[in-house]
Symmetry: C2
Subunit: 198 residues, 2 copies
DNA sequence: ACCGCCAAGAGACGCAACGTCTCTTGGCGG
DNA sequence: CCGCCAAGAGACGTTGCGTCTCTTGGCGGT
C-alpha cells in the first residue's frame, strides 16, 4: 500500500524532523517518539541508526550545521578579517538556543570539541597577513590572545538566558565592535603593534 | 517509635543528601526519589518544599554555596588584587562538574544571573585603589574590560569537558598568570596605564 | 521476471522516574 | 492535655526510554 523510504532519503527526513522538534519544543523536551511520529516512522528505525536520544541530537546538529571551515578572509585590514570570521560564527549561532547549547554540552562531550574550535589555522593566517601588509610587527601572539574575540563571542552565547537570547542577534554588531575596539585591537597593538618590542 | 526531624534541621539533612547524590551520580542522574531515600524521608516532604527536581537542585546549590561576596582586597598591587578575586572564584568552582554546570544552566535561568555575576562593585573599587596608588591613570575602563579576567575564568570552566576537568584545578595558577600577564595587564596598561591618553 | 532477505513501519513491553495522592501517626503549639 | 499540621511511607497514573516482536515492501542478485 504505502511506499517506504530508504537509506539517505529516510535519514534526511528523520534528521529534519528531529531539528523541527528541537526548534518547536526545545532540546529538553525532544523525544525519540516525537521524532519518529513526526517523520512517520517507527522508533526502531531510529534506534537502528543511533544508540540513544543524545546521539540522535548530535547527528541532527551535524546534519543541520556541518563543520565550520571558513576560507581565510583577506580584506587588507586586521579588524575586517576578524570581523568576517566573527560574523560567520554568529550567523550559525543564530539558530541555537541556550537550552540546546547547554543541554548538548551537558549530555555529550563529543560536540564540545567542535563547538569550541578556534580555527587556529585561519587566525594565524590572518595575523600573518596583517604582518605582511605592515599592520603588525610580528604574529607571535599567545594562542589565547589570537582567539580571544571568538572565545568572547561564544562566552556571550553561553552566558545569556532564554529571555536575553533574542537580544543577542540584534546587538551582535555592537558586541563585535566592543570586543574589537575595546579589547582585541588595543591588546594586539600593545603586544605586536608596529612599535612594539618583541 | 522513631523520632521525626522538623523544620530547618530536616531541610539541611535533605539538601546535604541532595548534594551527596549530585557528587556521587552527577546532576543528570539526580533523582528526587534517590534524595528522599538517602535522607530517610518521603518524596512528599520534598515536594512540599520545592516544586520539582530543578528547584530542589537550585536550593541545593544555594545551600552549599551561598552568594559570593568577597571583601575588596587591597594588596597595593592591581595584579594581586585581581588574583585574589580570581582564586576565590576558582575555589568555589572546584566542586562543580561540567555536567552540573551545563545541566543547571540548561534547566534554570534563575541561577544564571548568580553564576555570571561580575562583582562590579568589588572590581571598580580595586581599579580605584590602583589609581590611588598611582598604578593607573584613571579607572574609566569599559565594563567588559574590567571583568575580563573573571569572564575568562568562567569561560574556561564552561569549555572543558568532564575528562579535561581535573586538569583545570591543577593548572589554575598557570591559567591565572596567562590571563593576567598576556591579556589583562597589557590591555589595561594600554587603556589606562600611567602614560595613557584618556 | 522472480525470489530471498534485509530493513521499514507499527506498536507492545518492562522499566525508571516524575509528580500527585492517600493514609497513619509523631510531636509542636496553644 | 489535646488538636492539628506535617513527617514518613508508599501506591498510583503517566511519560518516555530502550528492547522486542511481527508483518510486509521493495532492493539486489540471478
Amino acid at each position: 500500500m504505502q511506499s517506504r523510504r530508504h537509506g539517505s532519503e529516510l535519514e534526511t527526513t528523520i534528521l529534519d524532523a528531529a531539528w523541527a522538534e528541537i526548534q518547536e519544543k526545545g532540546y529538553a523536551r525532544l523525544t525519540v517518539e516525537g521524532v519518529a511520529a513526526r517523520a512517520h516512522t517507527g522508533k526502531q528505525v531510529l534506534y537502528r541508526r543511533w544508540a540513544n536520544r543524545q546521539q540522535l541530537a548530535v547527528a541532527t546538529i551535524r546534519h543541520k550545521f556541518g563543520p565550520l571551515v571558513p576560507a581565510v578572509p583577506d580584506t587588507g585590514s586586521l579588524r575586517e578579517d576578524y570581523l568576517t570570521v566573527m560574523r560567520l560564527m554568529a550567523e550559525r549561532a543564530r539558530h541555537y538556543t541556550p537550552d540546546l547549547l547547554h543541554g548538548l554540552l551537558a549530555d555529550t562531550p563529543t560536540l564540545a570539541g567542535e563547538f569550541f574550535s578556534n580555527l587556529p589555522d585561519v587566525l594565524h593566517q590572518i595575523l600573518r597577513n596583517a604582518v605582511a601588509h605592515g599592520e603588525l610587527a610580528h604574529a607571535d601572539l599567545p594562542e589565547r590572545v589570537a582567539s580571544l574575540p571568538l572565545d568572547l563571542i561564544r562566552y556571550e552565547g553561553l552566558r545569556r538566558t532564554a529571555d536575553q537570547w533574542p537580544q543577542l542577534a540584534v546587538q551582535a554588531e555592537e558586541l563585535f565592535a566592543e570586543i574589537l575596539n575595546d579589547i582585541f585591537l588595543p591588546l594586539v597593538m600593545a603586544l605586536a603593534g608596529p612599535g612594539a618590542t618583541r
